[in-house]
Amino acid sequence: MPSKKSMLPTNYSAVLSGGAMPTRKKIAFAVAGTLFFALTASSYGAGPATSQVDTTHLAVTDTEVTVGQLHSSTGTMAISETGAIEAERLAISQINAMGGVLGRKIKVIQEDGASDWPTFAEKAKKLLEENRVAAIFGCWTSASRKAVLPVLERDNGLLYYPTFYEGLEQSKNVVYTGQEATQQVFAGLDWVSKTKNAKTFYLIGSDYIWPRTTMKLARKYIETVLHGKVVGEEYAALGSTDFGSTINKIRLKKPDVIYAAVVGGSNVSWFKQMKAAGINGKDHTLLTLSVTEDEAKGIGGENLVGFYSAMKYFQSLNTPRNETFVKEFKVMWGAGAPVGDVTQAAYEGPWIWKAAVEKAGSFDTDKVAKAEESGTISFDAPEGMVYLEPNHHLKTKLRIGEWRTDGQADIVYTSGYIMPNPFPKGY
């Protein structure tokens, strides 16, 4: 579709530098162009020439670079993805306040994946082929990422993906700013088996790829490394709200640790019904992989108190860097907005992209991906320094938080840096 191409801002400089255009029109364009720059170029446009930083017809002008944001702002997943949208916006506005990327202001085109996986693929295609965005910050569920992946690889786009996930994936076109399963599972299990002297585990998750893969890793680790015993493993249908029988089974088996990865609306029912059945943090140990401050708000602190979450980040993290971040987030999005693990990971996306682009000196996907694989990209994130490893995942720490009644967690354990290992051997 040739008409589409001429509408792109990319070709703006080409228009200015001439071509097969009548002279009068050219002059008119030049005048309009000058006016345009006079109006907008006050703080931007000091970077290298567009022809140098963009050889693949991306939406890059002398003053602006366009990126896409692709999350669900409607549908079931809006509950979870809202925080990510907000954090990415915060990061982008901060980068812009600092002078943008390569002297260019970041402009955002936001699309709604509507909690529907084919829609995600369609919108990714739109962002990459029609809008020619330089990068996409987006997706939350693994299903949406898997739907977007073929589009990314075909159109050679960049995705910055914020959620902790099951691993078993690595693509040149994706940077995973959340933890993959081995980072989230092993250190947490080590901690719980040591501090609680735990021998028996009950695994419960929602019935889809992330909990199933994660629990597979966990079971193997419990049986071979910790020499413990899995006394039950169970998956509840997504959206299931009745846990009465499951809770009774847990009471009968009396595991030392309940290891949980239940998501969405089910998560709320699961914790409320456990509390009602007399299973609480005082005399039971529960370690969950799926409760951040976002979920805690829906579950209610009184139903969570004393239970543990394994995450790389908690809002309560007591460092000056994090306090600044939390304050900035609340100024932008309101005091009631919780900051969870994924929210913080989403905040890292635009910063990592900025660092990679600046290292590459270009917005071209291949050059940015090469810079990302150089092993030299790092970022002073709210969670602490994070390092981008050549396998496109971040080297980070794992933290265990103990929930309080106010929906915040006390960090009771911080691991050392854990190398990302998306393809663990023997699992």
Binding site: I79, R251, V268, G278, G298
Partner: protein, 307 residues
């Protein structure tokens, strides 16, 4: 089950029995409103779940107001909030019937589409009003925790509460339908609309009140569910399938059928998920329902309506 003491097994048996009863009352409470609307009027209300969500948000709203302005009244707000949940859902139901449903009585398939659209609109309104994140109402203390008749047995208090509510609501509905003047008119309209109109019953008004009552009961159901499950813009959609299942399985025009069907489904599911995995338990229950419905397409109990 080797290795477990007799007293262990006994207390599990008691708690398992209770968990089945608790699921039964949840299903019953969800299905009652729909049984009235679908059973008595033949309207397929896909927005039923959203009327439950209205009830849930009402509780959330009241809990926040009480917490902020009248903290001393925390133990009592729930009672007022449930009445409010019924009233608000009733009023919105009344409005919806007037604006939307009454134009579609002769086109049942279009009501399905229209109410589904309505459910999407309502979800977006919830999202705009309360935000996309799930919220949690602060419950009064008497609704939290468990009752321990013996040291090994925990009976959830919120489960007991839902059970009590479903008994009360069912009794009230039965009394209204079978003992009151209004119920007589509703049943007359169901059985023969033209004749009912001919003997001077305002069938349009009856329709409106019946629909609104069904929605109001959904509001109460939603209010009760805040104690055991989630409150978010799309929470209602978690229940809608189970709700239809109960009503269709019970036989759409029979209130007694709804009760029996809720009991059967709940006990089957609860017992099966105890002995199998969660997912398998559901599969077996659904398979059984499909087979029974193939043999008895009209559901467990059918009322004698002249065709």
């Amino acid at each position: 089950m080797g290795g477990y003491s007799l007293s262990d097994l006994w207390s599990i048996l008691v708690m398992q029995g209770f968990s089945g009863l608790s699921l039964f009352s949840v299903l019953l409470l969800m299905a009652l409103g729909l049984a009235i609307i679908f059973g008595q009027m033949g309207v397929i209300n896909m927005a039923h779940g959203e009327f439950m969500t209205i009830g849930a948000y009402t509780i959330y709203f009241f809990s926040k107001i009480t917490e902020k302005y009248f903290p001393g009244l925390m133990p009592f707000y729930f009672v007022v909030a449930i009445i409010a949940a019924f009233s608000i859902a009733f009023l919105i139901g009344y409005l919806v019937e007037y604006v939307l449903i009454r134009h579609l009585y002769k086109r049942p398939l279009d009501t399905l589409l229209a109410t589904w659209g309505l459910s999407l609109i309502m979800q977006q309104i919830f999202r705009s009003m309360f935000g996309a994140r799930e919220v949690s109402a602060t419950l009064p203390n008497w609704l939290m925790g468990s009752w321990k008749p013996t040291p090994d047995i925990d009976i959830p208090l919120n489960g007991l509460f839902v059970m009590a509510m479903s008994i009360v609501v069912t009794l009230v509905v039965v009394l209204f339908l079978y003992r009151s003047n209004w119920g007589l008119k509703v049943r007359a309209t169901t059985q023969n609309r033209i004749m009912a109109g001919a003997v001077g019953i305002n069938t349009r008004k009856i329709d409106r009140i019946t629909f609104a009552t069904g929605c109001g009961i959904a509001g109460i159901a939603g209010a009760c569910f805040t104690t055991i499950a989630s409150t978010g813009p799309t929470s209602g959609s978690l229940y809608i399938v189970d709700t239809f299942l109960v009503v269709v399985f019970g036989g759409s025009a029979s209130l007694f059928g709804t009760v029996a069907s809720a009991f059967t489904i709940a006990q089957a599911q609860s017992i099966l998920t105890f002995f199998m995995t969660n997912a398998m338990g559901k599969v077996v229950t659904l398979l059984a329902i499909i087979i029974i419905l193939m043999m008895r397409p009209e559901g467990l109990f059918t009322s004698k309506v002249r065709k």
